[in-house]
Symmetry: C2
Subunit: 216 residues, 2 copies
Amino acid sequence: MASSRKARLYGGMDAEERRAERRLKLIDAAIEVYGEVGYRGATVKAICEAAELTERYFYESFANSEALLIAAYNHVVGHLHEELAAAAAAGGDDPEARLRAALTLYFTRLKEHPKPARVFLLEISGISPAVDAVKLDALRVFSDILVPPARDPKGSDKGAAATLLSIGMVGAVISIALRWVSKHYPQPVEDVVAIAASFCRVALTEADRRRDLRLL
Amino acid sequence: MASSRKARLYGGMDAEERRAERRLKLIDAAIEVYGEVGYRGATVKAICEAAELTERYFYESFANSEALLIAAYNHVVGHLHEELAAAAAAGGDDPEARLRAALTLYFTRLKEHPKPARVFLLEISGISPAVDAVKLDALRVFSDILVPPARDPKGSDKGAAATLLSIGMVGAVISIALRWVSKHYPQPVEDVVAIAASFCRVALTEADRRRDLRLL
DNA sequence: CAGTATTGACAATCTGTATTGTCAGATAAC
DNA sequence: GTTATCTGACAATACAGATTGTCAATACTG
């Protein structure tokens, strides 16, 4: 009875496990193919061929192309965010150190993985409201890692001005990254980090300045 | 013979004039429709209906959908850039004044025209290499208006660092605008301008600082 | 080994849109 | 009023890709 629960094994794997593996293969293949021809140019067929699977298995794991895009995005970005958070934490309490650590890791990873870089920098805009929502959420996380939201004594979420500062900061960093990637990494990482950091500092100091103005 | 040159008049108009007018109607309709359903959701048919023209006239003026998108983009952005340049010029020699004048005009226009705003803030990314090139060019113009490139004594184009600073600045401004527009203009124009300006100041001061470092 | 679950290849269908073509009716020139 | 030009509606075609369905080959189980 203990083993009757499990489906028949293939290649030493559970039905569940096999399905999970196929899902992963599809995600990896998708990142690869998106990197080559872009999300819009990527057909279900091409992704399945890259994954060495047939369309059938595509629809086993994903309702449609968009679902795979979102899964691929979360796959890549989720992992990156963990790393970034760890790097920032290693920077201790010094905002400047945290910033530099996180940015350095960010641009380093971008350089190591050009294809995922395309997927989540370029491809991910204006596909659909659902995809945009996923992206916005990821950017918010990114922003909070770079410049942790100040603990406002009373209110839960930060003010409208602070939000726009975050948005501007992330917009600057992403735009710089996009350019850097699309030009095939002309400058060394530390130079790009320095430039990006100067924009992040705006968000840090402006937020302080504004809070001071209110409190004084 | 003088009049035999001209084609038959319809509605008091030359063949050329009629064609030009239809072209304009299509561009206006496109901006309208893009604003409603996005470029991707906009079919040739829908745009023609909005323009009160049939598909035939679409292909008379444009080779395909993309050509119309580019035309619409240039139509909107070209006009805006003229205005921005004039506003900046009115700010005289003070970089800060120029910046503020241009940004104020920019965000004011954005608020006045929500639909064109969508077209050239949201819709215009990742459609095709041709469209991206048009956009990049427009952003460069925008950047040069906000912070005119320093007259480097010898070299013609600015250094790599200065380019990334421009890119970051424009990225920040656009991201802020995008958020502001998509949330239906929650803050007054002057507040948004102040925040955007703080990012632009980075590009101004950093560029100076770097030049000083080299010259000293 | 017999039997069944699983897989892979591929055909068939469906859908949506771009693009081209047809034609009758409207408009201006003479 | 007659004729050539232009216009608007719409049909016909072309096409690409998603999604579903079929079936024989294969891999495991007992």
